[in-house]
């Protein structure tokens, strides 16, 4: 990312020690009893269930009946024009905003009933990374790990691993306030992944990144998605095509398309969906 240095990333993205265990899959989900899809097992465990989400902001229906279901290994690109409802959807998925109706369940934990357990399995990077400018990078990542329940040797191992993965070694002792946009974005990504969440939610993570930084970010997300589920919002179709195996298009708060990217002409699909 910084000039003159090329970062190589581990493509397996296996944390030193898996902490997050998916709870018993026979557990009821928010949408009712466990279904065969929930007990699919293997690498295709359902990690995110969002059903019929609706949310009004003022008199406007910001999100209207949006349902998203993700399995382990899925990378979902949330596409839409500015103001389509992507960020509001992500904020509901991570528990920051309560939906007017509908349910969100993370790895079997209903957000409305067990919010702390559900949020422990989420990593969220908002469009403006939640960074404390007066903290050093390592202090900040340590705090993020601690509030997600990591401690002792596991915290140290995860912090070292994520620092390496996000190529933050050279700025580890610097104040966050002094970092460039690219580094800030990477610190934001590191805080979202330090506890190895089952579901990673990224709100326009590529904002303000240069092409090389974009490439590194994509590699990182793809590598992470092999053992987890990732949702990221973007309005760049090329980015969605490059990273995702699924795309969902939101227009005026409604989910107008949800399909795989295999052989799809996203530009055509997007144009048809928002007409």
């Amino acid at each position: 990312m910084s000039a003159g240095r090329v970062y190589t990333l581990s493509f397996s993205f296996n944390f030193p020690e898996h902490r997050c265990q998916v709870p018993a899959l026979s557990k009821s989900t928010s949408s009712g009893q466990a279904t065969p899809e929930h007990i699919g097992g293997g690498n295709k465990t359902r990690l995110l269930d969002a059903a019929n989400l609706c949310r009004s902001l003022g008199a406007t229906a910001a999100v209207d009946d949006v349902s998203i279901h993700l399995q382990r290994g899925d990378v979902l690109g949330l596409l839409g024009l500015n103001g389509a409802g992507k960020s509001t959807t992500l904020r509901m998925l991570c528990g920051m905003l309560v939906p007017d109706s509908g349910t969100v369940s993370i790895a079997g934990y209903a957000m409305s009933e067990q919010p702390l357990k559900a949020r422990a399995r989420i990593g969220f990077l908002p469009d403006q990374p939640p960074l404390y400018n007066d903290m050093r990078v390592h202090e900040y990542l340590r705090l993020c790990g601690q509030i997600r329940g990591l401690k002792g040797a596991l915290l140290a191992r995860n912090q070292a691993f994520i620092t390496e993965q996000c190529a933050l070694e050279e700025v580890n002792t610097k104040l966050i306030g002094n970092l460039s946009k690219g580094f800030r974005q990477r610190v934001g990504l590191a805080q979202a992944m330090i506890h190895e969440p089952d579901v990673l939610l990224l709100d326009e993570p590529s904002n303000g990144l240069d092409p090389q930084q974009l490439d590194t970010m994509r590699t990182l997300i793809r590598a992470y998605a092999k053992n987890h589920a990732v949702v990221f919002s973007t309005h760049l179709l090329a980015e969605a095509q490059a990273i995702c195996n699924r795309v969902a298009i939101i227009h005026k708060g409604k989910l107008v398309a949800d399909t795989t990217t295999d052989g799809a002409n996203l530009e055509e699909l997007f144009r048809r969906s928002i007409l």
Binding site: L57, R91, C94, G95, M96, L97, V98, P115, L116, K117, R119, A120, I122, G123, F124, P126, Q128, P129, P130, L131, Y132, N133, D134, L143, C144, Q146, I147, R148, G149, Q191, L201
Partner: protein
């Protein structure tokens, strides 16, 4: 979790230049008031000795030095608290807490504890000046202790008030103005004249009414309960406010 949040809040507070500017001014006030009242005692101690129940140095300094500091602490504590949540909203860092497995209760208590620790250190500094006199003369330790308890309770209730108003707005200036307004009202209630209206009970809500006993060496349950309940009420309101934010967004 509360400990982690408290440490974070305390660290943020002591790393802020604003904190040290306020602390320096406060320390100057402590020193000035202490020396001024000590000098006043030396001037009147002969007259005091003629009274049936002469007031000693500790009693005099408690009433003349520590008691006025309660007013100072009730306005300074919200200055430390005003950025607690306002800054988080303003700088978009609140999303970190909202998307983490941290309950509103833990967040509020953690932040409050972090702030309280710093405020209590300032109370210790103010009381410590009086305690240092013990090197030269015997002092009435229980009076100093009850005075310090009174100061602490008053400062902690004001901190809780500041935390609550900070949770209401992303502008810390609005938070501090609202805190000052409420604290002024709580002080002025003592002298309020309600005429013929049956509102005398409202005077019981005054800071001053509940503080006087502490500086005379009395530790009364009603006074302690007043400040504890006031603090608890503001903290509970803050928790409700944070939970409501999930409904309304911020």
């Amino acid at each position: 979790m509360i400990g982690i949040i408290a440490r974070h809040e305390y660290r943020a507070l002591v790393q802020s230049a604003q904190t040290w500017v306020i602390t320096t001014l406060l320390a100057l006030l402590f020193g000035f008031l202490f020396l001024r009242q000590l000098e006043a005692f030396l001037n009147v101690q002969d007259q005091l000795a003629l009274q049936d129940y002469p007031v000693g140095l500790t009693g005099f300094m408690s009433a003349q030095y520590l008691q006025p500091l309660a007013l100072a602490f009730s306005f300074v504590a919200p200055l430390f608290a005003m950025r607690t949540f306002s800054d988080e909203y303003q700088k978009h860092t609140y999303a970190l807490w909202q998307s983490s497995p941290v309950s509103s209760t833990s967040l509020v208590l953690g932040k409050y504890l972090g702030l309280s620790l710093f405020v209590l250190l300032l109370v210790l500094l103010a009381s410590g000046m009086l305690l240092l006199m013990q090197i030269f003369i015997p002092i009435d330790l229980p009076v100093v202790v009850t005075s310090a308890v009174g100061l602490s309770l008053c400062a902690l209730a004001s901190t809780a008030c500041g935390v609550f108003f900070s949770s209401l707005t992303r502008h810390s200036l609005i938070a501090i103005i609202a805190s000052f307004a409420l604290i002024i009202v709580l002080w002025l209630l003592q002298s309020a004249n309600f005429g013929n209206l049956p509102l005398q009970a409202i005077q019981n809500l005054s800071f001053a009414n509940h503080l006087a006993g502490f500086f005379q060496g009395y530790l009364q349950t009603a006074d302690v309960a007043y400040f504890v309940l006031l603090s608890a009420m503001f903290l509970a309101l803050t928790i409700v406010r944070l939970d409501l934010l999930k409904q309304t967004g911020y």
